[in-house]
Symmetry: C2
Subunit: 216 residues, 2 copies
């Protein structure tokens, strides 16, 4: 559910009318602020627009991970881990588990935070967890053509749906085989260079190393 | 800027009119979805509402942290670390640094992720970083009465603005003095029990321990 919305890569639509009273809005900088906002001249409501959270997880089972092949545009036919827009009234963990159930008919236990990635060009923030698949009962939900448990070696790198999926899985594969904790954060851009850091040992007090690499 | 909006604790306002064309919306479940949405019968636009991200940081300087005393409602006169709503087109790290500049006139270098906390009761997600204060030039911005560098021992526990601020700082104080990495995640509720986990060593592959404690 809500996956087209989550992954359409759309910018925020402009606000022309007040969603409260239906009046035509004005673009102005409210008192005490610095940015232009859509403000209703009739009821004074300020219509803020903010980035959206895409919550997802990497479901694991005995060294393999569960990926879904998209049945919907954009990127129909390409692979992703389960992820979608967070809904009102839920936590990011609940959102990640719900999306996994919807897209892969799979039940997971969220057990650790994997990373948080900003996509400023589409005003989205991905929050990605690692999760334990509870059993081998899974299969394509409405938005998936196919759901498959894959070894690290068989990840279809050339057929991943979005740069942030590739970036997350690339790091995941790097991390497998290391023995220290890593939680990643940073910015993923669509066509230039992404910068992702790791909060591996935050008590070291120094800046984390920046890792630059080409993203598609 | 935008801090009243960030911390007002408000639920999302209902949508009565289409922000695109001004028509009165209908509440219906769109095809392929499961939740009621505000849908425009004229232009077919679906108006999604999603949780908002509050980005903040704990600015550090030689064992002390920078806190701000709020000059605005709600919780006027109470203490918080710098935090506020993320804007379109920025990363969570940029948002945290910007809020620190606005609220405390302080320049920081974000160096590690501290935690991500869901507040489902107000549909907010706090993303909190640790940051290095670049120098001792700071002072109250428009939304602060006072900005002070404090030792861990002098955190005003009885005068913190929000449960999520208390929860974050409580964990922060616990972590100081330990030597292993911790990135926290979980849910903070206003009046019942909060559940926060840590992704300290995600390669352990087991579930993180849940820690329950009373929150105000």
């Amino acid at each position: 559910m809500d996956d087209v919305h989550a992954n359409s890569g759309c910018r925020m639509p402009s606000i022309n009318f007040c969603s409260q009273c239906g009046s035509e809005v004005e673009q102005k900088i409210p008192l005490g602020e610095t940015l232009l906002r859509a403000v209703c001249p009739a009821c004074q409501m300020i219509h803020y627009q903010n980035p959206k959270i895409v919550a997802g997880c990497i479901p694991e089972w005995e060294g393999q991970i569960l990926l879904c092949r998209r049945a919907i545009e954009p990127r129909l036919g390409l692979w992703t881990f389960p992820a979608g827009f967070m809904e009102l009234g839920e936590s990011t963990e609940e959102a990640a588990a719900r999306e996994t159930l919807e897209e892969a008919n799979a039940t997971v236990t969220i057990h650790s935070l994997y990373g948080i990635f900003s996509l400023p060009h589409v005003s989205q923030v991905y929050v990605v967890y690692r999760a334990a698949l509870q059993d081998l009962e899974f299969g394509p939900g409405e938005e998936s053509l196919e759901v498959r448990l894959m070894s690290i070696e068989s990840i279809p790198w050339e057929h991943l749906a979005f740069p942030v999926i590739r970036e997350t899985l690339r790091r995941y594969v790097e991390d497998v085989g290391t023995t220290h904790a890593q939680v990643h954060f940073g910015t993923v851009s669509p066509s230039r260079r992404s910068v992702v850091n790791s909060s591996a040992s935050w008590l070291s007090n120094g800046p984390s190393p920046s890792i630059n690499h080409p993203a598609e």
